[in-house]
Every structure is written in C-alpha cells, then in structure tokens.
C-alpha cells in the first residue's frame, strides 16, 4: 500500500494493538486494534485530539502504561524483539538504548538540583556500567553539540536554561545511546513558534544523523506537515487514516482528516468566520473613549516588561484589536494592566475617562461589569467545588442584572445556545466533567451574559484542541457585531489574528515594532521581527521550506538584528489611535 524507500525490516511493528483501561464505569478502549510500521530513518506523525490514544500507544511501546491500563491484544515488535514479552529488567535495558522517549514538558523532566552533564551521564552508566569519565564527557559533549547547544551548557542547572534549551537537552539525552526509535511526545507544545521551529529542526537533523525511526506525537497539522514523512490520524483510539504526508494533505480520505486540515487557519487563506453576522452596535452613552492608555509602562524590578505606550480605543463601533508577540513580549502584562489586576509602574489607564487605579467601590463594580476577560487556561477557570453554572450565575447576580431566578436561568440558557452548547447537558455538570473546549465556550458565554463593553481575550484558544479553535474564535468574533463588544485579542498566533482583527500590534520585548491593519502587517510584513514570527509558523503547505537547514537559521541573531530596526506603522483604522511617538 505505501511505497517505502527502505525495504528492510521495520524498526517498530504494531500489529492489532489494543489497549484498555478498566474504570468504575466499565472498560475504556483507549486504543482499538492499531496496526502500523515505522521504518528505519522514517518520521511518522501521530496526530489526533487529546484522548485519541496517541500518547497511550507510545507509552505501550515503552511498557510505561499507567496502572490499571494494559495491552489487551496484538503485538508490539521493536526491531525483532517482542516488547510485550520482555520482563521488567529487560525492558529497563531496552528503554533509552533502543527506544528513547522525549516527553512533553521538558521543564518537568530534568532534575532541578543536578547539573545537565551528570543527568546525561546517568543514562550511559545505567546501561553500560562504569564508563571512564573522559569517555562520558566526550559522549555528552558530542550529544550537546549535535543538538546545537554550546558545550558550557553541560555545567548549568536546568533553571538556567530557556524552555527551548531544556527541550534540546532532553533530545540530547534521548539520542545519547543512538536508539533505533525516538518517540517525541508533543516536544514543542510548551514553546512559542520561534523556539518550536528551532527545536523541530534540531530533532529532524539529529534523527537523520543517527538514522533512527521517529514517532512524533502532536495535534498541530501544520507542524506535522512540515516535519514528518508519514502521518497516522487517530480518532477515539482508532487509526482512521495512514499515508504519506503528501497523500494525506492533498487527498484526505477520512472526513476527520479533512476537518483537521481545514481547522488550521492560514494567513491569506479562506476565512473561517461568518461574514454576514453584521448587526447594529448599541449606542454608547459616554463620549469619552472606551479605553485609553496614557504613557503606560510596567517594570518588574530592573526588567521593563512594557515600554511607555499610549493608545486610545474609541469603542463607538466595536473592533477587535490584536496584540501579538512571543512569550515574554509583554502582551499578557498589557492584558492584566487593562483589567486592573496589575497597576502600571508609570502612566494611567483610563476607562471611559476614569482612572482604573483610583476608582471608588461603585465605579469599580461598574468597571468590572463592563470589562470582562477570557483567559488562556479553561481548566483553571472554574472552581472545582461548584457546578459550572456557579461561574455564570454569580456575576449575573453580583452586577444586579438578574431579575429573578427564572430570569437568570433563561439568560444562562440563551448564552449557552449562543456559543453552541446544549444548556441541559453542560450547566449542571462539574468542571472536570467537561472538555477544555466546552469550558472555554462557557467562559465566553459568561462574558456574553454580562454584555460588557470591552472583552480582553488572553490567548483564548491556545489550550484548546485544534479542531475547536476556529469555532471558539468565531464565537468570540460574533460577539463583536451581535452585542457590540470591543475586543482586545492577545495571542501568539498570527494566522488567527490576521482573520479576526481590525488592527494588529506586534509586540517585541515590550515595544510595538509593527502596527496597522492585519492585511498589511501580517499579509506583507515589513519589520524583520514580524517576518521572523511569520516564517516560524508551520503551515500544512509542503511547498514551503520551514525547517531543514538549521545552520543558517539562528533566531537569536535574527532577534538581535530586529531589535535595531525602528517600529513600522502601517496605516490607521478609525476608532483606534496608537500614539506613534
């Protein structure tokens, strides 16, 4: 069926593998008779939503399934060895030397009290017994060199490394014994796009160098398209499609695969938004601008998170202003300053002419009612003690919007329907019974019930499954026109910012580097930093070169160059005025 360039025996053969977890509600089939080969030197991507069985399969290969899960059928063959027949001790020797696992959160996988070097030696010593110290040093240095880290990294502690460096140390540890198979479980999910590109390049290069098979687990179609040779699409534990990336991207057979591909927003591509939802915005009583930053600056100790910034958002016609940047660019700081959670070190934030810092109790309540937020982490937003309707009911009563219990109930039901949730199914549940996507929609529904004038959406979809992102964003987008809510959209995802926003500001280390309408700023970037960000996005487009030659692509150098270039302002939109001084 698939034409492999390599015809010798596969590194990993999964044959009819089924994995089940007994639970109080009965046995859950996490993986249902999955069959797949991974050949030497091939990169195979496992893509699917959370709960589709990707990680479970990988853990079964390592014999690291969490209790009480077990492989209930089929066989796992690792280069001629039946993994399931191996004893505890044989398996321990197989791990790392023949199959390496690179975990999801690099920051949590390194021992914080040990320097990097001895941690790398641990693996060698555990497999080969006593090895000469000079030999250990030579091998760990070679491994660090191969992942492109300077050799002095060996003497550092994990907290002295950045997220991308930690992930590369994990890769170095994984390949130090030249395994036949590398399993990388969402190795870049905690990293921003620029670092992600760098880490993926490293992983690809090292895999090509040692010629092992690679099993890459992820949920980002764009990243997969740019990284792997073959793609396995998993849904609810079953393999629904398997083929080369080319086959799958160009002619996806299964409807779920088509959904996955189309859910990746493209810059300049087709919009996923509903364009004909244009209703008239309600008139505002005040003639003061809705939100105004006057020379706002924020310092954390000696570090300036946000350099002085002034802008005015008029708010007469609802608009979406996007603030984009990497982690550490100051975008979330801006969000919390706007919400009044974090007082600025200098300057003033005015909401309808009122200084947010100096409000009395009544003004403060009014401000809270009118400025609402959707946060990044939908899992943390609900108090685990209460049913989810507490989070909707409480503010509604608190702001005096509720006329009666029945009125509250209808308002909640309407809000749920507006974001595409069935109120009977979700409202009386506890938060842990709902998925991340459902919870994030509920947070949007909560904001909608309060009909604020301004909504701060801080990375609202970055922790939600890819297939749901577009629909949640279009929920938020519809709020703008249907309910006349101005929205500040804080994100690192330029593709979605391109589609939803009326105006885009690109932040880099607390400075605006490029600002203007999205068609210009993101569609045709002029500032080198914006270009760096856009180049780093992995798109499901095979023609685009994203990460092959890692020698010529050094983000640190590009960033240093970008810092020298003055900000570029690309035209204005009525209703929003960014001071360009």
């Amino acid at each position: 069926m698939l034409d492999h360039p390599n015809t010798d025996k596969p590194v990993l053969t999964l044959k009819d593998v089924s994995i089940e977890f007994p639970t109080p509600q009965g046995v859950v089939q996490a993986v249902k008779s999955l069959s797949l080969d991974i050949h030497k030197g091939r990169r195979v991507g496992f893509i699917g939503e959370s709960g589709s069985g990707k990680t479970t399969t990988a853990l079964a290969v390592m014999q690291m399934l969490a209790e009480p899960g077990r492989v209930s059928g089929g066989s796992i063959d690792l280069g001629g060895t039946d993994v399931l027949a191996l004893g505890e001790d044989e398996m321990r020797r197989t791990r790392l030397s023949r199959v390496a696992y690179i975990p999801q959160g690099a920051m949590n996988s390194l021992n914080p009290v040990m320097r990097v070097e001895p941690q790398m030696w641990d693996g060698i010593i555990a497999h080969e017994g006593a090895v000469d110290r000079a030999e250990l040093k030579r091998r760990s240095d070679a491994a660090l060199h191969s992942v492109g880290l300077p050799l002095h990294t060996a003497d550092l502690f994990p907290h002295e490394l950045s997220g991308g460096m930690k992930q590369r140390v994990c890769i170095a540890m994984g390949i130090i014994l030249n395994p036949e198979l590398i399993i990388a479980d969402e190795p870049t999910s905690a990293l921003d796009v620029v670092t992600q590109r760098q880490v993926m390049q490293t992983l690809k290069a090292i895999q090509a160098e040692i010629g092992s098979g690679l099993m890459l687990i992820g949920h980002d179609m764009g990243l997969m398209a740019q990284t792997v040779d073959e793609l396995a699409v998993l849904k609810d534990g079953a393999l629904v499609e398997h083929g080369t990336v080319q086959q799958i991207l160009e002619a996806p057979k299964h409807p779920y695969t088509r959904d996955l591909i189309s859910s990746v927003p493209l810059v300049g591509g087709e919009s996923f938004l509903n364009p004909d939802a244009r209703a008239q915005a309600p008139k505002r009583a005040s003639s003061e601008p809705l939100l105004r930053f006057e020379n706002v600056r924020k310092d954390y100790g000696p570090v300036t998170a946000l350099h002085p910034m002034s802008f005015t958002l008029q708010g007469d016609t609802p608009q979406i202003i996007s603030i984009v940047g990497q982690s550490g660019s100051g975008k979330s700081t801006m969000g919390s300053i706007m919400l009044g959670f974090n007082p600025p070190s200098q300057g003033k934030v005015l909401f309808e002419g009122q200084d947010v810092a100096g409000m009395n109790a009544a003004q403060s309540l009014d401000f809270r009612k009118n400025v609402q937020a959707v946060f990044q982490d939908p899992y943390a937003c609900f108090n685990p003690f209460y049913r989810v309707n507490h989070a909707l009911k409480f503010p509604f009563k608190q702001f005096g919007l509720s006329k009666s219990a029945a009125h509250t109930q209808t308002a909640m039901e309407q809000a749920c329907q507006a974001v595409g949730l069935d109120p009977d199914l979700v409202l009386n549940r506890y938060p842990h019974q709902l998925s991340g996507g459902q919870r994030q929609r509920l947070v949007v529904a909560r904001a909608l019930m309060l009909s604020p004038k301004l909504l701060i959406a801080d990375e609202p979809v970055s922790m939600v499954d890819a297939s749901l992102r577009a629909s949640i964003l279009s929920n938020i987008y519809d709020l703008k026109d249907q309910y006349g809510i101005s929205i500040l959209y804080i994100t690192h995802d330029l593709a979605t910012a391109y589609h939803v926003s009326d105006y885009v500001m690109v932040l880099f280390k607390g400075n605006v580097v490029e600002a203007g309408p999205p068609k210009e700023v993101i569609g045709a970037p002029q500032h080198p930093y914006t270009r760096l960000l856009i180049d780093s996005i992995p798109w499901p487009d095979l023609a685009r070169s994203w990460g092959d030659g890692r020698q010529d692509w050094d983000p640190a150098k590009l960033e240093a160059e970008a810092a020298q270039v003055p900000a570029v302002y690309r035209g204005t939109v009525p209703g929003f005025d960014l001071s360009t001084t």
Partner: protein, 310 residues
C-alpha cells in the same frame, strides 16, 4: 472483564468491584470508617454510660479498694464482682465510672484545643496569604518561631504557676501551641490559590474579598482543613495526657491521663494493679489509632493518587 451476567463472580472480581465502588465514592474508605467507628465508640461509652451506670462511683471511697476486673484475682485473693465489672482503683473509685467520665473528657480537651487552634490558624493563614507584605512577614515569622518552642516545657511552667486548672483552661493553653502548622498550611494553599483562574474569574465578577475567601477558596481547602484538624487533635491529646500524667492537669476532674498519674503515684505497677493503669492506656491507644486511621483515610480521599484501583 467481559463476563456474562449469569456467571457467578469470582472472588477476585468481587474484590475488583468493591475497589471500583470505593474509587467512585471515596468516602467509603475502610480506614476512614474504622477510624470514625473507634472514636464514635469512645463517645458512645461516655454518652450511654451516663444512663446505665451510677456516676457517683467516681468519688473516692465510694467502692471497695483495688478490686480486679471480673474473672481475675488481685494479690489479696479478692475476685472481681459484678458491681465493679472492670475493677476499682486504690482510692476506692469504680474504674468503669472513671472511664465513662474520663475518656470523653480527654477527647473534649483535644477537640476544643484543636478547634480553637484551627480557627486561629485559618484566620492567620488567610490574612497572611491574602494581605501579604508586612502582615505576612509578621505572621510567618511568628508561626515559625512558635513551632520551634517545645509546648510541654512552657505548659509545665504555666500549669505549675496556675495550680488547679479547668478542662477548658487547659484546652485554651494547648490551643496556643497547635495553631502554627494550620497557619503555615493554609497560607501556602491561599498563596497558590490566589493565582488560580477561578479566583481571577471571581475578581472579574466583582466578588468581595470575603466572598473570594469563604465561598471560592474555603470549600477547596476542606480536605486540608480536615486533615490538619485531625492531626492537631492528636497533638493536643498527647500534650494534655502528657501534662496529666505529670500531675499537672485538672486536679478534681477525672481524665484518662489523671487516672494513669494516680496509678503510678500509688505504686500500681509494683502492686500488680494492672487494670488501674492498663485500661486508660488501652483507651488512649484506641483514640490514637482511631485518629490515625481517620487521617490516613482523609489523605486517600483528598489525594486520589493514593487510592489504588488494582
């Protein structure tokens, strides 16, 4: 697992099914149930005993001296009588009456002391975690310093200076030494919870500080508070019994510790009056085992990772 319904379950499967039920409802924890049962039996002895037994027998000289429990003989060759089923002490007090009055007294001191201690701890812990700054520094340093002072040392000085004290007074004194660890625990939890999404959401909803503290945070602290409460009941009882055995507890109120003190003082060990000191010790043991089981059970309830499914 794919057993047809008409087949009888094997023992292993029954055990599995029971584990699942426990996993579903964590409060069905056997440790928790046993622990609570043991403590409840002590309380019941105190409650029911009042109705079926003559409590005037706790007074000195109300009964013959040094009678053994039924079925035993003392050194003088006297055997136990039905009027005093578990014997009498050297002062002619009925042991059963002593236990009916004394065991609940010991529990009462422990519960009261840790209730007061917990209340102080909750108040200070929330203040420190929530207000931060100077208040936090003061409370944290205060709690850290107090935790290093051995309570028995201070209490011995206090009690000997005060002379005779009431049970409540003793509980109050002990409470002064059990508020530190709940303070530290709650402060740490409040600090981490303050950053959590739902507290931010509540702030966005215009919630008052007291709403955030008592309606949003407190319910999530309940498992920790319970655990901490049980631990401090244990500490309080140990401290109280320690003082009583040294003869520094209340002089006129029977408690388990006081009974042991009198037994030792009267040379019960040499005279082989084992029931005098043995029975109160056994009851103290039951109380401690009950508390320990409750604590272990609560740990499993609040920390699902300790619960084993297979």
């Amino acid at each position: 697992m794919t057993q047809p319904n008409d087949m009888p379950l094997t023992r292993a499967e029954k055990r599995q099914a029971r584990r699942f039920r426990q996993f579903d409802n964590p409060w069905l924890n056997p440790k928790l149930i046993w622990g609570a049962g043991l403590l409840l039996s002590i309380v019941l002895i105190g409650l029911l005993g009042r109705f079926v037994w003559d409590l005037d027998l706790v007074f000195t000289g109300s009964s013959p001296l040094k009678l053994p429990p039924i079925g035993f003989e003392n050194l003088r060759g006297q055997s136990g009588v039905a009027a005093h089923p578990i014997g009498t002490d050297g002062g002619g007090r009925d042991m059963l009456a002593m236990i009916i009055v004394g065991a609940p007294n010991t529990l009462f001191v422990g519960l009261l002391a840790s209730l007061i201690g917990m209340s102080i701890g909750i108040f200070l812990g929330f203040s420190a975690g929530f207000l931060g700054g100077r208040v936090d520094d003061t409370i944290r340093v205060g709690a850290d310093v107090m935790i290093t002072i051995p309570p028995l040392l201070i209490l011995v000085v206090f009690q000997s200076a005060f002379g005779d004290v009431s049970l409540t007074m003793m509980a109050l004194l002990i409470a002064g030494f059990v508020w530190q660890s709940p303070t530290r625990l709650i402060r740490a939890q409040v600090l981490s919870m303050k950053q959590s999404g739902y507290v931010q959401m509540a702030q966005l909803s215009g919630a008052s500080t007291s709403h955030i503290m008592f309606r949003e945070m407190m319910p999530n602290l309940v498992p920790y508070l319970f655990g901490s409460f049980i631990a401090s009941v244990t500490t309080s009882i140990v401290t109280a019994v320690g003082l009583e055995v040294l003869g520094l507890g209340p002089q006129r109120i029977p408690t388990l510790g006081r009974t042991i003190y009198e037994a030792i003082n009267a040379g019960a060990l040499i005279q082989n009056l084992w029931w005098w000191w043995g029975i109160p010790t056994l009851l103290l043991g039951i109380i401690f085992i009950g508390l320990l089981l409750i604590n272990l059970g609560l740990d499993e309830v609040s920390n699902p990772r300790l619960r084993k499914l297979s």
